[in-house]
């Protein structure tokens, strides 16, 4: 008699469910792997490569083909000319060959020693090429009636070229030059300091301003909905639109803000808000606060509205003043959402690129790590150095994320 036992391990139903789950997740995993994981690996690879922007196009054999001389009647003796060159001025190409079909009715008189003819297929082996090499092959031919009849010109059959060039991205040259460049002394310290300032003050500022706005709207009155919608505007509008609006508002020559300040007697001459050293950094941080306070405002307001109002009534009865109620009742209730928001916003502000790039382009002492990626890769055209900065960013983020995951699991929501 068999003993009755609960089933052990995964049964067929559970297996089917897991299979379905992986099936449903498969497209997403593939897409994310292709566009997130693969590029991340690529970034690590590139950061050890001496790659410049110009190296992205691999050297190749450029071939032009034409027919010279009269070829209108039988017996004419034109030449077919092949002009070839190496598209790169500093990379060699090895094993250059090309293949072409000679049209019917053209009889080749004399063959270049490096070429051979099989039926009507011309094969040429041009050996190894130096950087910037050029080569011209001329092949004299005679015209026969068939050529005039079929109307095919030599150019009509495109020649195939082959050649092995070493691509800087895939070959085995590695360098630590990029990192040496990135960590180079004062500049790196400044970039780090700017990033830290921007991130810390941008995050805290947006949180505090958002908290203030949430306190204002945490009561029902006519027009509360409108104001709430209005206060979300900075976040919803396209960043490029608001960034340019700010630039024009604070323009040193014809900006309204300067005109207003001068008229009110605050400053005797126009201030270059986004062009002077300490001020530009403060302005981009203020922009960050302005653009992202709606976010913390929204979260904090949602949390506030879920706090039980009985508590405040009880506190009122006990004689707690409004500030005491805020400090001893609201703040402890909001602490959870505030810390989650702080962590998330901290990471996101750290990652922010568009805002500073549009406002100052990283000039006037506002170059953060993310802007530095762009600066190195595209302004200085050194892709490798840009990738090295990206690796540094990724390292920082990994540290934040570990901390974040450890912390967030204990926190509510999100």
């Amino acid at each position: 008699m068999t003993e009755l036992r609960p089933p052990v391990g995964t049964g067929p139903l559970a297996k089917r469910e897991a299979r379905l789950a992986w099936g449903l997740l498969f497209p997403t995993i593939t897409a994310v792997a292709l566009v997130v994981v693969l590029p991340l690996l690529a970034i690590f690879w590139i950061s050890f490569k001496p790659v410049e922007l110009g190296d992205l196009r691999a050297p190749e054999v450029v071939l032009r083909e034409d027919i010279r001389g009269d070829a209108g009647t039988v017996g004419d003796m034109p030449t077919i000319r092949y002009r070839l060159r190496n598209s790169s001025q500093d990379q060699p190409i090895t094993g250059v060959t090309f293949t072409d079909t000679v049209p019917e009715g053209l009889v080749i008189q004399q063959l270049d020693p490096r070429c051979d003819l099989l039926e009507r297929v011309l094969n040429c082996d041009l050996g190894d090429w130096d950087p910037g090499a050029r080569e011209t092959l001329t092949i004299p031919v005679t015209v026969e009636q068939a050529y005039l009849d079929n109307g095919l010109r030599p150019q009509d059959s495109p020649a195939k070229t082959t050649g092995v060039s070493s691509n800087i991205l895939t070959n085995s040259t590695f360098t630590l030059e990029n990192f040496a460049r990135v960590f180079n002394g004062d500049e790196f310290i400044e970039v780090l300091w700017v990033t830290l300032f921007y991130t810390v003050f941008g995050t805290i500022g947006a949180l505090l301003v958002g908290l203030f706005a949430a306190l204002l709207l945490n009561k029902s009155f006519k027009g509360q909905g409108i104001l709430r919608g209005l206060y979300l505007f900075p976040y919803v509008a396209p960043v490029i639109a608001v960034a340019f609006a700010w630039l024009i508002l604070f323009d040193p020559f014809s900006g309204s803000a300067n005109a207003l300040l001068i008229q009110m007697g605050v400053t005797p001459e126009a201030i270059n808000f986004f062009g002077e050293r300490p001020l530009a950094l403060i302005m981009v941080t203020v922009f960050e606060i302005w653009r992202y306070f709606p976010l913390s405002f929204l979260f904090i307001l949602a949390r506030m509205q879920s706090i039980d109002s009985d508590m405040y009534e009880a506190a009122d009865m006990d004689g707690a003043s409004p500030f005491q109620q805020f400090w001893y009742l609201s703040v402890p209730q909001l602490l959870g959402i505030l810390s989650v928001l702080f962590l998330l916003r901290f990471i996101w502000t750290f990652n922010k690129f568009d805002d500073i790039f549009l406002l100052t382009g990283g000039n006037a002492g506002t170059r953060t790590l993310t802007v530095n990626v762009y600066e190195q890769a595209f302004a200085v055209s050194n892709i490798g150095a840009g990738a090295a900065v990206a690796v540094v960013i990724f390292g920082c983020l990994l540290t934040f994320s570990l901390f974040f995951l450890k912390y967030i699991s204990r926190e509510e929501g999100l």
Partner: protein, 404 residues
């Protein structure tokens, strides 16, 4: 703090500070509206604000007393001894309007702030109540101003021309007699700068992004939320982690890969890459919502013989329509506002999205009102969508805007 809690200190102090806030506000509003010189006079503001604050806080006058006070304040301003200094060249109408607006708004709001203060010593409650009313008033003015001013400048600059702007940067008044000439920069953007195409491109790309994102995110979110499989917890964690990878780090290899495969500068390259930036957000928002749905309904469906996929299609999706609307709106917003990838990957003007098109307007040869008109064109659709569907949008933002 206790020393401050006497009516004879509290009401003049708050009155004086409130007058500074209001006179600055009125000066800025009038300057922006007319372009004429208005400036707050801080000393007079403190003085008159203190005096009126004291009288209101102690209820020295009845209703008619306050009317008299309002009139007196207006006259003081017009005579040049008030909290607001008005330039000599300002028209009489604007001066009277400004003086009257400041006087009325101050007396009325100071009344609200200071009204229920008793004479003599104040309790902590009463004192803080007055301070909070003051801060609330200040908060409304402050937030409304900082939010509206950049958008106001954007809109009004787009109606001006270069010489008007240089002449008086403060003058945002619109000369209605110019008629359709006002919309010249919009007209030029659509006729000469191809903005019609950009608008269409942006719209088309955003809508495609929404659909592709949903097609990937719905099955994924359902699997993470409902189905039990090994690694489920790790998976829902790692969705959050993908959020954390900054776009600029990914943009560099994507740029290289697209350059080498010829996908750069193509419509489909952008359509391929945008959804991947939004899938994690959508996945995250949707799985939260799916978890909140009662599992019993789905189980009932399963018992009645539906397959899992049929359950998702016939039960879960219809129940989560509001969430789908929020997610779609949010994804649409991200795709519509996206700038970095469009900027790096698109060079051919016929394939620009709106944001890329605006970036191309940022050159010294193109007048600034074109830049602002372009910004308005990009802002208006997303704002209209946002205001029309605010309920969904707000929900979407709270659920998903862990992302920046």
């Amino acid at each position: 703090m206790t020393a401050l809690r006497f009516n004879w200190i509290t009401s003049p102090t708050l009155g004086a500070l409130w007058m500074v806030v209001l006179s600055t506000t009125v000066a800025i509003v009038m300057s922006f509206a007319t372009g004429d010189p208005f400036r707050p006079d801080i000393l007079y503001s403190l003085l008159w604000g203190g005096v009126i604050g004291y009288t209101i806080g102690h209820r020295l006058g009845d209703f008619w007393g306050e009317v008299m006070g309002t009139a007196a304040l207006s006259i003081l301003i017009l005579m040049g001894f008030g909290p607001l200094t008005i330039g000599a060249e300002v028209s009489l109408f604007a001066s009277v309007f400004a003086a009257f607006a400041l006087a009325v708004s101050f007396v009325w709001s100071a009344h609200t702030i200071l009204d229920d203060l008793p004479h003599g010593a104040l309790t902590r409650h009463e004192f803080e109540g007055a301070v909070i009313r003051f801060l609330t008033g200040f908060g409304y003015i402050f937030f409304t101003a900082i939010v509206l001013i950049p958008f106001y400048v954007m809109l009004m600059t787009s109606f001006k021309n270069q010489s008007e702007l240089m002449q008086n940067p403060l003058d945002f008044s619109i000369d209605l007699s110019k008629g359709t000439e006002l919309f010249r920069s919009y007209d030029e953007l659509f006729t000469q700068f191809n903005f019609g195409t950009y608008l269409f491109n942006s719209f088309f790309i955003s809508v495609l992004t929404v659909f592709i994102t949903l097609a990937f995110a719905i099955p994924g979110a359902y699997a993470v939320a409902r189905l039990r499989f090994r690694g489920q917890a790790a998976f829902s964690r790692s969705i959050l982690l993908i959020y954390m990878v900054p776009m600029i780090v990914l943009a560099l290899p994507i740029y290289i890969a697209f350059s080498m495969t010829g996908l750069r500068n193509s419509f489909w390259g952008i359509v391929m890459i945008y959804p991947v930036t939004t899938i994690p957000v959508a996945l995250y928002m949707l799985q939260g919502y799916f978890r909140g749905l009662p599992a019993e309904i789905e189980e009932a469906g399963l018992m009645d013989g539906l397959s899992r996929l049929a359950v998702v299609w016939k039960i879960t999706l219809p129940l989560s329509l509001p969430a789908l609307a929020s997610v779609s709106l949010y994804v649409f917003m991200i795709a519509w506002n996206e700038f970095l990838l469009a900027f790096m990957l698109l060079d051919d003007p016929s394939k620009f999205t709106l944001t890329r098109g605006i970036a191309s307007l940022n050159s010294s040869e193109i007048p600034r009102q074109h830049l602002m008109a372009g910004s308005v064109i990009a802002t208006v659709p997303i704002m209209a969508l946002f205001l029309g569907l605010e309920r969904f949008m707000t929900k979407g933002l709270t659920a998903g805007s862990v992302k920046g």
